[in-house]
C-alpha cells in the first residue's frame, strides 16, 4: 500500500508539471497546430492530479487503519489502540500528512474549477495554469521534502507513538479540514485574479465567477477559526478561547484581507472602482494563506500548535518570493488595464465607508502580523528575543475593532456616491439613542468604565454592538415597510421577501449581526473570574453565585488512556441545578495528560470546571472559571454561517426573471 501511495504521488507531480507546462505553452502560443486539443489535455491532466492524490491519500489512510508501522508517518502519529475515528485525523496531525491533505484539497478545488470550465473557457485555462503552478509546488514538497510514505529504517516497531492527545477530540476531526478548506480555497480566486490580469480580461465577469468561491472559502476559514477557538476552550483548559498564539494569528491574517476583499469587491462590481486595490487584496490573501502555512511549519516562531521544526521553511519562503515576484511583474506590466472607471465624489459616501472599512481591516491584519513577527525582528535588531503575547494584542486590537464596529454601524446608512448630513441625522438618530440608552442601563448593572480599562472597552463594545444591530434592524424595517405598503404583507413576511430579493445585501447584514453577537461575547471577558481548590468528598467551593460540591471522584482505564474524574454537584440558592464531570486523561502511547473540561453554559455565563490534577493527598484539585457571555460567541458564529448561507443563495427576483423573460425582451421593454 505505501508503494502504491508513493507512485501515486509521483504521478500527481508528473500530471501537475504537464498541466502547468503544456497549459502555459498553449496560452503563450495559441497559434500552435492543435493548440485547443493540446490545451484540453492540460486541463484533463490538472483534473487527473485530483485522482492521483486521492489514491495517495487513501493509501495513507489505509496504512493507518492497518497499523502499518513500517511507514514512519504512521509510526509517529498513530498506535494500535487509537479509536477508529481518530485514525482518520492522523492524516493531518503531522507535517507530511497535512501537506498531502493540503495538496489533495487544492487538487479537489482545481478539479471543480476545471470541471466547470464552460463558464469562461479561456479565463479558466489561465486560472488552471496558475492552480497547476501551485500544485507543482505542493506535489514537489510531498515528493521530495516531506514524503508521507517514507519508510522506517531498521526493525518495524510493534506499536506507534500515538496521536497527540490534544487532537483526540471530536472537533479536531473537523477543525483542521475546515481551516485548510479556507486556506486552500483562496487559491481559486487568486488564480482567477492573476489569470484575468495576465490576459487583461475585459469587464468584471471574473469577479462574478469568483464571488461564490471567495464567499464559500471565507465561510470555511471563519468556521475553521471558530472551531479552533471552541476546541481550545473545551480542551486546553485555561478558560479562554483565543490566546494570540502565532499559529492562531496566522489563521486570522488571510481572514482579515479576505473580508476586506469581500467588501471592496462590491465597489468594483457596482462602480468599476478599486480594481488595483482588489487585485492586491486577493493576492495578499493568498500570500498570507501560504505565509500562515510557512509560519506553522518553518519553526520561525515558537507555538504550541506548530508542527515540528523542519527543513521545509526555505521551500515556502522561496515559493512566497516567487508568487510575489510573479504578481508584481504582471501588475506592473498590465496595470493600465486596472484603471478605475469612476472616482470618489464625497468623503461621506458608501464608497468612502468601504475604503475606511478596508483600511481598518488591513490595519488589524498589519497589527497581528507585526506582533507575530516582532520577536523575530527584535532578536535580529537587538539580539534579545521578547514575548509578544495577549496583553500586547489586546491593547492594540481592541481600539481597532471598536473603530471597525463604528464603521459597520455607519456604512449601511450611507448612500452610494454622496450622502447628505440630513439623511445621516435622520437614519442615525434612533440607533444612536438606543446605543446611549444601553450605556445608561449597563452602568448600574456593574460596568465601571472609569475603574478599569477592560471594563471601559467592554462597555464600548456592547454599546457599539447595539448601534450596529440597531442600524441593521432599521435597514430591514425601512425596506420591509416599503414592501409592505406595496404588497400588503405584514412586517415579517415583508422582511423575508426583501431578503429573498436581495440575498447578498441582507445576508451580509445578518453576517454583521453575527459579528456583533460575537463581540458581545468577547466583551464578557472583562468580568472573568476563577478560583482553585483541593476538594475531598463532600467538600465545597464557591464561585460567583454557584456552590460546587464534590460528590465523588473516580478512576477509569481503557486501552487508549487512563482517566481521573470528579462528579461535582452544582448548587445555586441552595438548590442542585446540575452535575458536572470534569476529567483528566493520561494517554498511554504518548504518556501525555489531557483535560476534558466540564462546562455549564447559559446565555449569562459559563461555569467552566477543570480537573487540574490530584493533590499529594490523592484528592482532586478543581479549578473553576466563571466566564460571562461566552455562549454569545458561539451563537454569533451560527448567525454568521446562516447569513453567509443566505448571501450565497441566488436572489429570487433574478431567478424568476431569468426563467420567465428572455434578456432581449427585457432590453426592449426598458427602451
Amino acid at each position: 500500500m505505501p508503494e502504491f501511495g508513493s507512485y501515486s504521488l509521483l504521478l500527481a507531480l508528473a500530471l501537475s508539471v504537464y498541466s502547468f507546462a503544456v497549459g502555459a505553452i498553449v496560452l503563450l502560443r495559441p497559434d500552435w497546430p492543435n493548440a485547443e486539443r493540446v490545451g484540453e489535455t492540460a486541463r484533463r491532466a490538472g483534473m487527473g492530479v485530483f485522482l492521483a492524490l486521492s489514491c495517495s491519500m487513501l493509501a495513507l489512510i489505509a496504512a493507518c487503519y492497518q497499523n502499518d508501522f513500517s511507514v514512519a508517518y504512521i509510526f509517529h502519529h498513530s498506535n494500535k489502540d487509537l479509536p477508529a475515528p481518530y485514525k482518520f485525523s492522523v492524516l493531518w496531525s503531522g507535517q507530511e500528512g497535512s501537506l498531502l491533505f493540503w495538496a489533495w484539497l487544492l487538487s479537489a478545488y482545481g478539479f471543480v474549477m476545471r470541471w466547470r470550465h464552460k463558464v469562461d473557457t479561456r479565463l479558466v485555462a489561465y486560472a488552471g495554469v496558475v492552480v497547476a503552478a501551485v500544485q507543482v509546488f505542493f506535489t514537489l514538497i510531498i515528493n521530495l521534502a516531506a514524503n508521507p510514505f517514507a519508510m522506517m529504517i531498521g526493525d518495524i516497531p510493534a506499536d506507534g507513538n500515538g496521536l497527540n492527545p490534544l487532537l483526540q477530540y471530536p472537533e479536531m476531526v473537523i477543525h483542521p479540514p475546515m481551516l485548510y478548506l479556507g486556506y486552500v480555497g483562496f487559491t481559486i480566486p487568486f488564480a482567477f485574479a492573476l489569470g484575468a490580469l495576465i490576459m487583461k480580461y475585459p469587464g468584471e465577469k471574473w469577479i462574478h465567477i469568483t464571488r461564490r468561491w471567495t464567499m464559500v472559502t471565507w465561510l470555511f476559514l471563519s468556521c475553521g477559526i471558530s472551531l479552533g477557538a471552541h476546541w481550545a476552550y473545551s480542551v486546553l483548559g485555561w478558560g479562554g478561547y483565543w490566546g494570540w498564539d502565532p499559529v492562531e494569528n496566522a489563521s486570522i491574517l488571510p481572514w482579515f484581507t479576505g473580508t476586506a476583499f469581500l467588501h471592496s469587491v462590491m465597489m468594483q462590481e457596482k462602480r468599476g472602482m478599486m480594481k488595483m486595490w482588489n487585485m492586491w487584496l486577493i493576492f495578499a490573501t493568498f500570500l498570507l494563506a501560504i505565509f500562515g502555512t510557512f509560519l506553522t511549519r518553518s519553526g520561525v516562531v515558537s507555538s504550541v500548535h506548530a508542527f515540528a521544526q523542519s527543513s521545509i521553511g526555505p521551500w515556502f519562503s522561496t515559493f512566497l518570493a516567487l508568487i510575489f515576484a510573479t504578481c508584481m511583474f504582471f501588475f506592473v506590466r498590465n496595470r493600465g488595464h486596472l484603471k478605475s472607471e469612476n472616482k470618489l465624489e464625497s468623503l461621506v459616501s458608501r464608497e468612502s465607508s468601504f475604503l475606511f472599512n478596508n483600511l481598518v481591516l488591513l490595519a488589524a491584519c498589519f497589527a497581528v502580523l507585526w506582533g507575530t513577527l516582532f520577536p523575530v525582528l527584535s532578536e535580529w535588531v537587538q539580539g534579545t528575543k521578547v514575548t509578544v503575547g495577549p496583553p500586547f494584542f489586546n491593547r492594540v486590537m481592541i481600539p481597532i475593532t471598536l473603530f471597525l464596529l463604528l464603521l459597520t454601524a455607519m456604512g449601511p446608512l450611507l448612500a452610494w456616491r454622496s450622502t447628505s448630513w440630513e439623511s445621516i441625522k435622520r437614519n442615525f438618530t434612533i440607533p444612536a439613542v438606543m446605543a446611549v440608552a444601553t450605556a445608561i442601563i449597563l452602568i448600574p448593572l456593574g460596568w465601571k468604565p472609569w475603574q478599569e480599562m477592560s471594563q471601559f472597552y467592554s462597555l464600548m463594545a456592547i454599546v457599539l454592538s447595539v448601534l450596529v444591530a440597531a442600524t441593521v434592524a432599521s435597514e430591514f424595517f425601512r425596506g420591509a415597510r416599503v414592501i409592505g405598503e406595496k404588497t400588503g404583507q405584514n412586517v415579517l413576511a415583508s422582511m423575508v421577501y426583501l431578503t429573498r430579493r436581495n440575498t447578498r445585501r441582507y445576508g451580509g447584514y445578518i453576517v454583521h449581526l453575527g459579528v456583533v453577537i460575537m463581540i458581545v461575547g468577547f466583551a464578557g471577558q472583562a468580568f472573568n473570574t476563577d478560583t482553585e481548590k483541593e476538594l475531598g468528598q463532600g467538600d465545597s467551593m464557591q464561585i460567583g453565585g454557584y456552590t460546587l460540591v464534590l460528590d465523588s471522584y473516580t478512576q477509569d482505564d481503557n486501552p487508549n488512556y487512563g482517566s481521573e474524574s470528579a462528579i461535582i454537584n452544582v448548587m445555586k440558592g441552595g438548590q442542585k441545578i446540575d452535575t458536572l464531570y470534569p476529567e483528566r486523561r493520561l494517554y498511554k502511547a504518548s504518556n501525555q495528560p489531557q483535560s476534558m473540561v466540564a462546562v455549564r453554559s447559559t446565555p449569562k455565563e459559563d461555569l467552566y470546571i477543570v480537573y487540574a490534577g490530584q493533590s499529594e493527598r490523592d484528592r482532586p484539585i478543581i479549578k473553576a472559571h466563571l466566564n460571562p457571555l461566552v455562549m454569545w460567541v458561539w451563537l454569533g458564529i451560527w448567525v454568521i454561517i446562516f447569513g453567509t448561507g443566505i448571501a450565497l443563495v441566488p436572489p429570487t427576483a433574478a431567478v424568476t426573471l431569468k426563467q420567465a423573460v428572455p434578456a432581449h425582451a427585457v432590453a426592449q421593454a426598458g427602451d
Binding site: 490566546g243 472616482k343 475606511f356 498589519f366 521578547v386 514575548t387 496583553p391 500586547f392 483528566r584 426598458g670
Partner: protein, 152 residues
Amino acid sequence: MKRALHCLLLAAFCVLALGASDSNSRFNSLGHRMMCMCGCNQILLECNHLGCSYSERMRDELTAGLQRGDADDLVLQGFVQKYGATVLAAPTNVGFNRVAWIMPFAAFGLGILAVVWVVRVWKARQPALAAAGAPPAGADHYRERARKETEL
C-alpha cells in the same frame, strides 16, 4: 471612648481588607503580564499544566515580591533578571521595544491620512473630468449605470 475604639478597629479592619484586595488585584494584574517559562507559551496565571514546576514557583515568587511591598516595576524587573526578557508577556515601552507599540497605530494613522488624501484628490479631479468630456450619450448608459448602482 469604647465607641471610638470600635470605630478605630473597624477602620483598621477596612484598611487591611482594602489592602488585601489590592494585593489580590496586583497579583492578578502582574500574573497576567508575565508568561509561564515552562515552554507552554501561556500567561503565568493561565498555565494549567499538571505539576508544572515553573508556574507554581513563579507564583510563589510573585506572592513573595508583593508581600515584601515591592513596587510593580521592581517585581517585574526581578523576574526579568531571573528568567530573561521573554518572561514579560508584552514588550516594554523602552528603546527598540517601543517600536512594537508605535508601529500598528502609526500605520493605522498614516492609512487614514492616505485615504482622506486620496478621496480629496479624486474629488478635486471630478470637475476637471466632467469638463474634459461628457459621458457617452444615450439613455442606455445611464440605465446601465443605475442598474449597477442599485442592484445590490
